[in-house]
Amino acid sequence: MIHATTEEKIASQTLMTKESQAKVEALLTSIGEGLVATDEQGLITRVNKVALSMLGLKKKDIIGKWFPDVMIDVAADGSKLNAINRPITRAFLSGQTVNDQRYYLKSDGSVVPISLCVSPVMLHGKPVGAIQLFRDISEEIIADTIKADFISIASHQLRTPLSAINTYAHMLYDGYAGELDEESRLFIDVILKAAGRMNDLINTLLNITRVETGSLVVDSLPVNLANLVKHIVEEINPSAKEKGILLSLKVGRNIPTINTDSLLVQEVLANLLSNAIKYTPKGGEVSLSVITRSTDILFKVKDNGYGIPAESKPFIFQKFYRARNITSREPNGTGLGLYLINMIVESLDGEVWFNSRVNQGSTFYFSLPHKGSNKKEGKFKLQRPHR
């Protein structure tokens, strides 16, 4: 009698387990987005019908296969991307969920734009795999293109009255409407500076739209990096001097000429230096150094300013993010600079990273490979602000 009861118990528990499993399967199948999960070897353990349909694959083509072999990340034109930039790699580097928009290569060779959300799967405090949800965003891409065109037109419309403000303010300053006293000139200085900031903001918005829609041109022409850094420091020096900040440059030996986009490299360095000056108090120090290493050229922008608090560090390259310790000190900031730099560096096939301590300062690193940047076709070149 006892055995029968035990057998009945086992049978009943097996039935319950099978039912729970069936419910979980039903749950995963019913999700309206594509779902793929892997084990800790990167092999796919689970996939749902939506995912199979989006990729044009059958279950047997996917289960047990290596994730990067099946979920093939490409650029909009179908060319392969650097593995370390893949969302799933970034999820493990950060330990957090990564949301991104990518293009996947389908089994028929066509490219599908997707929005994805990928997370590490944790068990007893250790990463044991990944889970990714994704959906087709072809229609949203069309809407984005319309949005980008609108921003382009709007930016141009904004520049026209800005030209008038700038020109007439200069004419007043130069006495075209009669001699001015010192105070009037100071007021006009304020107008001109504000117009300059507005122009920079329009440029930044335009640049971001262009980078995000993949329409930014990346040249690949010989650039003498030693000369480039000297030129950039000369360009930035006046704003450092204005704040009583010592700006220094150290150029290492044998800095090569590499094939890259001079405009984009200048923009990255100018932005990093401006940030360093902006977030360092009067009398501080900012330095730019460049050295050549075995596989790349390393630029280093170091300051002894406010630094970045630990809780802000994971978000620093995000759009519109500004750390709390600086929004009170420097209200004029858009939170777009580092976001744009990150995207530009990626398009240059380079790397950007940083170290920082609050109230001690930050060091930003930017590297370019010796083999240079790949040329990328696009519709627009970067708009650099006038300084």
Binding site: H156, R159, T160, L162, S163, A164, N166, T167, Y168, H170, M171, D174, G175, Y176, E179, N199, F380, K381, L382, Q383, R384, H386
Partner: protein
């Protein structure tokens, strides 16, 4: 000094360039789009044309094409625009425009300097108060 034609659709900017250049001693005429400009050129022969690229009715590039076809003389064309690095600028230069200047960042001194350099003239004295 020199005859200059300013072709710019924004009335405020057009007036500003006219004022700056006429105070520097030049003889300046205005037009607000490419079509008007071609009409003005029937009776006015400028040494220099300042041309905005993005205009209604007839754009800057369309104007240059028609200018090249017709018998309007041999002016130096300088393109004025807010668009940096755009295909329109390259097209204008390819069609024979001499130089390109960025509108929103050109102060009166800058404009006078460029114009006089192109005309091979010295900047005139005391039109602009010394700073």
């Amino acid at each position: 000094m020199a005859n200059i034609l300013v072709i710019e659709d924004d009335k405020d900017l057009n007036a500003a360039y006219r004022l700056i250049l006429s105070r520097d001693g030049h003889n300046v005429e205005s037009a607000y789009n490419g079509s008007e400009a071609l009409k003005v050129l029937n009776s006015f022969k400028p040494e220099l044309i300042l041309l905005d690229l993005l205009m209604p009715v007839k754009s800057g590039v369309e104007f240059i094409k028609e200018y090249n076809k017709g018998n309007f003389g041999d002016s130096k064309i300088v393109v004025f625009t807010n668009l940096e690095n755009s295909p329109e600028i390259n097209e204008a230069l390819r069609l024979g425009a001499y130089k390109c200047i960025v509108k929103s960042w050109t102060a009166p001194r800058g404009l006078i300097k460029v114009v006089n350099e192109l005309l091979n003239l010295q900047p005139s004295a005391a039109r602009v108060p010394e700073n």
